[in-house]
């Protein structure tokens, strides 16, 4: 039994989403041409999440992928809330005041974010009030703190990450009179999620990463070839600095038990994450919350289980590592993806495949002769070449989909093997997770002309 190519396509394309940024939105010339995103589930339901939004009160665009574990609750909450925390952290004092006054007097709120969502990317209605109140408390504190300094993006990102994780923790400790919400905040806190977020504003690209998702820049070399530039470090056992950091934060007596089998306390793969209060709270706090919590929580063996050698919490943080990069004209695209992609593909291959895909599409743009010396034969050769390229990438209109097709279907020669693709996609739910992880990808395409112009200004 094989899936037909159209069946394969319908599975691969079910979650694809593309957004084209208007080159000039009335205020700014955007350095982002647009982005393609997609995700392919292995877990049922999928535990990955993705978000994309344009900041409306400040400049720039936010994009992020979130890889959940022990359920999807935390990844879902972070995907809904983190960008608001970042946006608020970036807002100038006056805007914060304006927003607070609007809320106070019941006036319409200034819109903060414009979301770019696939229809499957949902927000929970029930928790919105709760989330909003936490967010409001945050900006009220920011107003009180008024430092008078201009907001630094790096700091804003770090603050936002830490604050949101803190709020998740607090909400779970306080609980909620509504039993549904009460259970929800507990599930959010007891599950975990990594986050890899990009903030693009003109030539300033900031990547804030917590966990083992990855951001990678696709760079076109002068000879036309493609190379990958890492813009994040994985927070896991393979990262020596990360292992070092964890060890520094705990007494030497725990050195041996901190990282076992490449996992934190022998349990957790990512060394940084949202939620996961089991690695953050004291044992007493955990016990108290679980006991007073709803029955479903008590029945869950995982939540009740206290990690071994748990002496000096917290063992885990949501604080991101932020990397700033000045975009150059040769920086053509950015790939944000959860570890599901990076487990199967080397970043160099990712750079090449996306690069060739995008130039294939790019070359569909019209060519013009103008005053150049071109012969009929040269033009004919060029057009033939373009046609050939178009037909090979013709299947996918979305760079993320194209990448997933390769990630899942590549054979040993690095080309997509339909038979393999079909097999991988027709695995039954319970088996799928054994052969592959959830994959979520965002490919952001940059406008080299705009970036070049920015550079010249500086």
């Amino acid at each position: 039994f094989y899936l037909t190519p159209p069946q394969v396509n319908s599975i691969l394309k079910a979650n694809e989403y593309s957004f084209k940024v208007p080159e000039f939105d009335g205020k700014n010339v955007s350095s982002v041409l647009g982005f393609d995103s997609n995700q392919l589930p292995a877990n049922a339901p999928i535990e990955d999440r993705r978000s994309a939004a344009t900041c409306l009160q400040t400049r720039g665009m936010l994009l992020g992928v979130f890889d959940g574990h022990a359920g999807c609750a935390c990844a879902q909450a972070v995907s809904e809330r983190l960008f608001y925390y970042i946006a608020v952290s970036l807002l100038p004092h006056e805007t914060l005041l304006e927003i607070e006054n609007a809320v106070e007097s019941g006036r319409a709120l200034l819109p903060i974010l414009q979301w770019h969502k696939h229809p499957n990317d949902y927000f929970s209605k029930e928790a919105s009030k709760l989330y909003f109140n936490s967010l409001r408390t945050y900006w009220q504190e920011l107003i009180d703190l008024n430092s008078g300094e201009t907001t630094d993006v790096r700091e804003a990102l770090i603050n936002a990450f830490k604050r949101l994780d803190n709020d998740i923790s607090l909400e779970a400790q306080v609980g909620d009179p509504n039993s549904f919400l009460n259970y929800l905040v507990l599930r959010v806190a007891f599950s975990g999620a990594t986050a890899c977020v990009a903030h693009v504003d003109g030539v300033d690209l900031h990547i804030a990463n917590t966990g083992d998702s990855r951001a990678m820049l696709g760079v076109q070399e002068e000879d036309g070839s493609w190379s990958a530039l890492n813009l994040s470090y994985d927070h896991n056992a393979q990262n020596e600095h990360e292992v070092e950091r964890v060890k520094m934060e705990h007494p030497k007596s725990e050195e041996k038990s901190l990282v076992k089998q490449d996992r934190l306390l022998g349990l957790l793969m990512p060394f940084r994450a949202f939620g996961d209060v089991k690695f953050k709270w004291s044992i007493e706090l955990q016990k108290r919350v679980i006991e007073s919590g709803p029955d479903q929580l008590n029945d869950n063996e995982y939540t009740k289980f206290i990690p071994p050698n748990y002496h000096t919490p917290p063992y885990l943080t949501a604080e991101p590592e932020v990397i700033h990069h000045k975009l150059r004209p040769q920086d053509k695209f950015l790939v944000l993806a959860t570890d599901g992609l990076w487990e199967t593909m080397h970043r160099q291959d990712v750079a090449r495949i996306v690069g060739e895909y995008l130039t294939g599409v790019h070359h569909q743009q019209p060519i013009a002769v103008g005053g150049y010396k071109v012969t009929l034969g040269q033009m004919h050769g060029l057009l033939t070449e373009r046609r050939a390229r178009i037909s090979s990438v013709f299947e996918d209109q979305n760079a993320a989909t194209h990448l997933i097709r390769h990630a899942v279907g590549n054979n040993e020669f690095g080309t997509v093997d339909h038979e393999r693709l079909s097999k991988m996609l027709s695995l039954p739910e319970e088996l799928a997770r054994m052969y592959r992880d959830d994959i979520t990808i965002i490919v952001v395409q940059f406008n080299s002309h705009v970036i070049g112009a920015y550079q010249n200004e500086e």
Binding site: I367, V369, H380, G381
Partner: protein, 882 residues
């Protein structure tokens, strides 16, 4: 290197301007003597206002002023010859498939040739000749058909071998060619300068030309043009001519009373190159490679090559107005296949340097023919537009015909195939036009075999029985938007195979239609003929009868219940329409005309009937479904269904009665079948259509009833020598010329339109005669089939052309109908055609260059029909249509 090259190209796309082209055209323009913007203010009134300063507008102005009309204003929104005309490839070619188009192109060629001498404006006229290439045998056949037609027009033309092609044009790769057609007198011109020359001559003749003046709309009062509103004020006028090219549709719709001009623009691409190392001679023939979809002409030492791609890009569907045609984007990827075809045809051009890819919009029409004539709703509103990328070839001739039309009331040639009134509002939908022109543009190059049909814009008008018939295997063709059955594929036949019936030879439906014909002859068949145009004309007093008696040549003062076949003639006695009229009561008439008469006939009647509120005319086409019951057993079916005796004694031929059929009452039954076979046509109010059809089919079962289509009908009518309006009959044919004196009542006691002309013909004789030809040595299985338009030779001399043809299953021979002329052997002058002249000749019909012996007959084979003839079978030579 290719990579670098790519980047260079994508970087320069930001620069939109094409300075080289601009400079080139302005240098061309500087040679002109007219056409600087008039500082003069617009006149307050004029006899004629022409909108559009392209080739068509200037040609109309030129010819009107030549014919003596002086009070003419030509308005151009931008500058003269700045639209499609400026970008036109400038090829004047007579190698066209339609007769009237060949005539227009031929005239244009002669006109342009002497234009420079006449006006002093350089037109760049060069007689280069043209070569049309055939890559397949079928293509060669279609070229041979054109060659036959050109030769009898006196235009030199020959079918040549690939070897000869190389001698004429050394660059052509001939390895895939089977032959070609060479037309040595085809020419090249600078289209903008031709237009400027025409404008120069017109302005010397008194035509006022105003550039940078836009017409906003045309005002119409009481159905007549009264004036034109422009951005520089109003001009009162009697005549308005819409020559606005691709904007003609929008301009037509801008007034309060819209004039529907169905055309739509498509992007059209052609390539200009730098000169070759050894520059091409300016006398090198133009090459048309229809199988490669391209044309190639010499241009300033290099080449100009464009084409008609399979996937055209329609534009301005939403109607984006703009002044001159801006340089549209060049689209090399789109042009790719045409470039491949060019390099395949001329591989030696690989190293030739590109100058520019020009993108210029061309307007196309729903049937690939241009649009001319007067609006059916606004008198004095004339149109000439929609040139389907042949504006230069047709411009001169089309302008002449339109000028004649305006000055004399009708052009000197039959232009019905181009008449605006062949269209109605139904072809005016932008969606329809967009889809249709996407089919039409590639069709410019596609091979057109007999009975080809459009595939887009279908299923617009249908009979209520459409689904029923379709489920029974109906195959459809379209006329005036109406779906009509060609034939029924019997169950079990291979359908796929049948759809590939595109051939110049015996088609695969031959046996299917044969069995339908047999059933019509021996039992009974039903043909859905609902597409007929149906009008009801009634009055409170005798006005209806009196007016119709004036408009129709036959006597309509017949007893109630009688049906009369009659022509609706013009002053020259020619057929404007050919119809059947039933007298429903003393004061009301039911008129049936061909499908495509809906707009034309309505306009004709509106224009000729007195303005009398007691005279009521209604178009009831949509109200009735028409079922034609053909065959000897029709009478049995109908009498069983109606419990009424239907035999000839009770229901004579050419009789009409309202009766009940099945449960349904008020069915108009007429004892005519349009084929000469016995039977009836039932005009059924549409809500009863399905019921009556079911009843007829159920009852008919025991009489062997079956469905039939129009192909069977055509075979039946042609073997009985029935002429069909629009195919055989036109405004230049009188009843005297087609053996229908008996449908003309010269002594009916009152004057009628065309009477004088007919009287004169009766006295002096006719100059052409409708004749039936039976092909003698034609092998139906092996030989090319006749279609229509084949030259007729009498004693080896050309005497006329066929107008229709069909295989007669009764005679087991092909029958062609056509007109025989008598040209004086020395002077070529037309002489009277007598019966003896017809009977005493040896005839041949030329099918794609091959001549077949034919027997000429002026009367049908009576022996074929005597057994079933009723005593008053007046219908026999009666009216007919398909």
């Amino acid at each position: 290197a290719a990579g670098m090259f790519l980047r260079l190209l994508s970087d320069i796309q930001w620069r939109a301007a094409h300075p080289k082209w601009r400079r080139m055209t302005s240098s061309q323009r500087s040679t002109s003597t007219t056409a600087e913007p008039h500082p003069v203010s617009l006149p307050a009134q004029a006899q004629v206002v022409i909108c559009g300063g392209g080739i068509t507008g200037t040609s109309v102005a030129y010819h009107l002023s030549k014919m003596g009309w002086k009070d003419i204003v030509l308005l151009e929104q931008g500058r003269l010859a700045a639209g499609t005309t400026r970008f036109c490839a400038g090829i004047v070619s007579t190698a066209r498939p339609v007769s009237i188009e060949r005539k227009m192109a031929h005239y244009s060629n002669k006109l342009y040739q002497q234009l420079e001498q006449e006006t002093g404006v350089q037109t760049g006229y060069t007689k280069t000749g043209s070569i049309s290439l055939a890559q397949t045998q079928d293509r060669l056949i279609s070229l041979k058909r054109i060659a036959s037609s050109l030769n009898v027009m006196g235009i030199p033309c020959e079918i040549i071998s690939p070897k000869k092609v190389v001698q004429l044009h050394p660059l052509i790769n001939i390895h895939d060619l089977v032959g070609a057609m060479y037309v040595p007198e085809d020419a090249l011109v600078s289209s903008a300068n031709v237009s400027l020359a025409l404008a120069t001559a017109a302005s010397r003749n008194g035509v006022q030309i105003h550039e940078r003046t836009s017409v906003s709309h045309v005002t119409v009062q009481k159905g007549r043009v009264t004036g034109v509103e422009t951005d520089r004020g109003r001009i009162q006028c009697e005549y308005f001519v819409n020559c606005a090219g691709q904007w003609a549709y929008e301009l037509g719709h801008s007034g309060e009373e819209p004039v529907h001009i169905p055309l739509h623009a498509c992007e059209h691409f052609y390539l200009l190159t730098h000169p070759l190392k050894e520059p091409l001679s300016s006398s090198l023939p133009t090459v048309v490679d229809p199988d490669g979809r391209i044309y190639i002409r010499n241009w300033q030492g290099g080449i100009l090559s464009g084409g008609f791609e399979k996937n055209p890009k329609p534009l301005f569907t939403e109607g984006r107005n703009q002044l001159e045609i801006q340089n549209l984007q060049e689209d090399w990827d789109h042009f790719g296949p045409l470039l491949s075809a060019l390099l395949r045809r001329m591989p030696g051009l690989e190293a030739l340097q590109i100058m520019q890819l020009v993108n210029c919009p061309e307007s196309f029409t729903p049937d690939m023919r241009c649009i001319m004539g007067e609006s059916p709703t606004a008198r004095g509103y004339f149109v000439l537009a929609g040139m389907n990328s042949a504006g230069i070839s047709y411009g001169g001739g089309a302008g002449k015909y339109l000028a004649e039309w305006m000055v004399n009331g009708y052009p000197s040639e039959n232009v019905w195939p181009l008449d605006l009134k062949r269209f109605g509002t139904l072809q005016s939908s932008r969606t329809f036009l967009r889809h249709r022109v996407m089919e039409v543009m590639p069709l410019m190059c596609d091979l057109k075999v007999p009975r080809w049909d459009f595939q887009t814009g279908r299923q617009l008008r249908t009979s209520p029985l459409y689904d029923r018939l379709d489920a029974q295997g109906a195959r459809w063709m379209e006329k005036h938007g109406f779906e009509r059955v060609k034939y029924f594929v019997p169950p079990g036949k291979d359908l796929l195979d049948l759809d590939h019936s595109k051939t110049f030879y015996k088609p695969d439906w031959f046996d299917i239609v044969g069995s339908e014909v047999k059933c019509c002859k021996e039992a009974v068949c039903v043909i859905d003929m609902s597409s007929f145009t149906k009008f009801e004309i009634s009055s409170t007093g005798d006005q209806a009868l009196e007016s119709l008696q004036y408009l129709f040549s036959n006597d309509l003062d017949v007893p109630v219940g009688h049906v009369v076949h009659t022509g609706m003639l013009n002053e020259k006695g020619g057929y404007e329409n050919d119809c059947s009229i039933a007298r429903l009561s003393k004061r009301s008439f039911f008129m049936i005309s061909p499908t495509d008469q809906q707009v034309h006939c309505w306009a004709w009647l509106k224009n000729h009937l007195p303005d009398d509120s007691n005279l009521i005319m209604e178009d009831v086409t949509w109200k009735y479904t028409a079922l034609n019951l053909i065959g000897p057993r029709a009478v049995d079916v109908l009498s069983e269904l109606s419990y009424a005796p239907m035999t000839a004694e009770h229901f004579p031929s050419l009789f009409c009665k309202e009766m009940s059929v099945g449960y349904a009452n008020g069915i108009r039954v007429m004892s005519i079948t349009h084929t000469g076979e016995p039977g009836f046509v039932l005009y059924i109010p549409i809500e009863y259509a399905l019921h009556v059809y079911n009843e007829v089919m159920n009852m008919g079962q025991k009489y062997g009833i079956r469905n039939a289509g129009y192909y069977a009908l055509r075979s039946l009518r042609i073997e009985k020598f029935f002429a069909f309006w629009g195919q055989d009959l036109d405004a230049f044919t009188t009843p005297m010329e087609c053996g229908r004196e008996f449908q003309v009542k010269l002594e009916k006691g009152m004057q009628f339109l065309g009477q004088e002309a007919l009287l004169e013909q009766k006295q002096n004789g006719v100059y052409k005669r409708f004749t039936m030809f039976i092909l003698e040595d034609h092998d139906t299985d092996m030989d090319l089939w006749p279609w229509w338009g084949e030259p007729i030779f009498r004693n080896g001399r050309y005497v006329g052309k066929t107008t229709s043809s069909a295989y007669s299953y009764t005679l087991e021979r092909h029958v062609c109908l056509g007109f025989v002329h008598h040209f004086d052997e020395k002077t070529g002058e037309e002489l009277v055609v007598t019966t003896d002249f017809i009977n005493q000749g040896e005839y041949e019909i030329d099918i794609a260059g091959q001549r077949f012996q034919a027997k000429a007959k002026l009367y049908p084979f009576s022996s074929l029909f005597t057994q079933r003839r009723r005593k008053d079978e007046v219908e026999l030579s009666g009216y007919q249509r398909e």
